[in-house]
Subunit: 226 residues, 2 copies
């Protein structure tokens, strides 16, 4: 059950962390932006205690930097860091798809294919934002189907950090988008054929290439420092 009707019983600091995470990931709070405790508390209508607890969660996720006695800031994004994040994402997604392909049900397999079809629809409609979000969901769903808690949480955290870089930069140009679609198409073929090694190879290469695309785009747009 999905408990969509359950009333919100999350502790305040978790709710605060959730909204802050969204704001940071989507760029509403810019990198290096100062996070003044009292100002944020007024804005969110809470006291400083749960806010400070939320900061600790977000710091562990790499989204906030706490400078002792000097206050928290939105974690800066460096091209170096994004590059490093993709260094880890590549082998982890490869591991993920290996597990997923041995564990996922026929129903889950068709869900992956459906997600891919949806991304194609966005692509053919020229909707880059749709492609962008579909892509994110596609990869996260694959990992979810690996049924591997440690991989899941580690990937989630890294994926969020990589996604920040992508929110910050403009969307891929047509050439990069074409390459992305091509990789996904090849991946789906390998999945349909149950060719685990091939799928893992394709996905790992794809993630590495995506990392390079993101970095190129960040460099060109000049939003992140080196």
């Amino acid at each position: 059950m999905n408990k969509t009707n359950a009333i919100n019983r999350n502790p305040l600091h978790v709710q605060v962390a959730n909204t802050m995470r969204d704001r940071i990931m989507q760029g509403a709070l810019r990198p290096a932006e100062r996070l003044n405790e009292v100002a944020l508390c007024e804005d969110l209508d809470i006291s400083r205690t749960p806010l400070r607890e939320a900061f600790k969660l977000l710091e562990a996720e790499g989204l906030v930097t706490i400078r002792p006695h000097k206050g928290a800031i939105v974690a800066e994004i460096s091209i170096q860091e994004i590059s490093e994040v993709f260094d880890l994402l590549a082998p982890l997604e490869a591991l993920g798809i290996r597990l997923a392909m041995t564990r996922m049900s026929a129903q889950e397999k068709s869900r992956i294919i459906a997600l891919h079809d949806r991304m194609i629809a966005f692509y053919e409609a020229g909707d880059r934002e749709g492609c962008f979000l579909s892509d994110y969901e596609f990869h996260n769903t694959l990992i979810a189907f690996a049924r591997h808690d440690v991989l899941q949480s580690t990937h989630q955290s890294l994926s969020n950090r990589s996604q920040r870089g992508r929110y910050l930069a403009p969307r891929f140009d047509q050439q990069k988008l074409d390459a992305t679609m091509a990789a996904h198409r090849k991946l789906i073929v390998a999945i349909k054929n149950d060719d685990v090694d091939q799928a893992a190879r394709i996905l790992e290469d794809h993630v590495v290439l995506t990392g390079q695309f993101v970095i190129d785009t960040l460099r060109e747009s000049g939003v992140a420092r080196d």
Copy 2:
């Protein structure tokens, strides 16, 4: 500079997290043990605020589980979880040694060899505890030499979790220790020969095997649930 003379300016919650981390990793606090806030505060002579902040850090590291409105407990260790942790450690250490071997200085290389020599000394003296600690340091040092912040912090966290399992279980029996030493010896040869692919392969296999050893030992001793 190493700032060994700098006075301790860490925030309280960081110091608290450090001592709690040690206690949990070494098993002074047992898995599933209740972490009563007021009792711990009396023991540590602090107030609840920094303690609760420390809990958040430790939860992110997988060492503590916070159950809303019910209090924190020392994170339980399941064989499943330890197994999953090693699933990630293997490809990450492989990545690490690839980076380390391309980046490390001659001096760092000899440091690795020295660590290995020290482990051999412990081995030949029949000091299993020494071997155990040397092994931990050997792997962590390799990762440090990769000069890769994201890998470093991710590995640190996973390594800590795996080490908990090892603290909990008895030390390896002679057979497992022999296999470990053999793997390290082969690894050192590959490192000396600058054979990156070979080293990465050996290390990845070694980590997988270590995972199986740890799990076997835990199973036999019956300290962790499935």
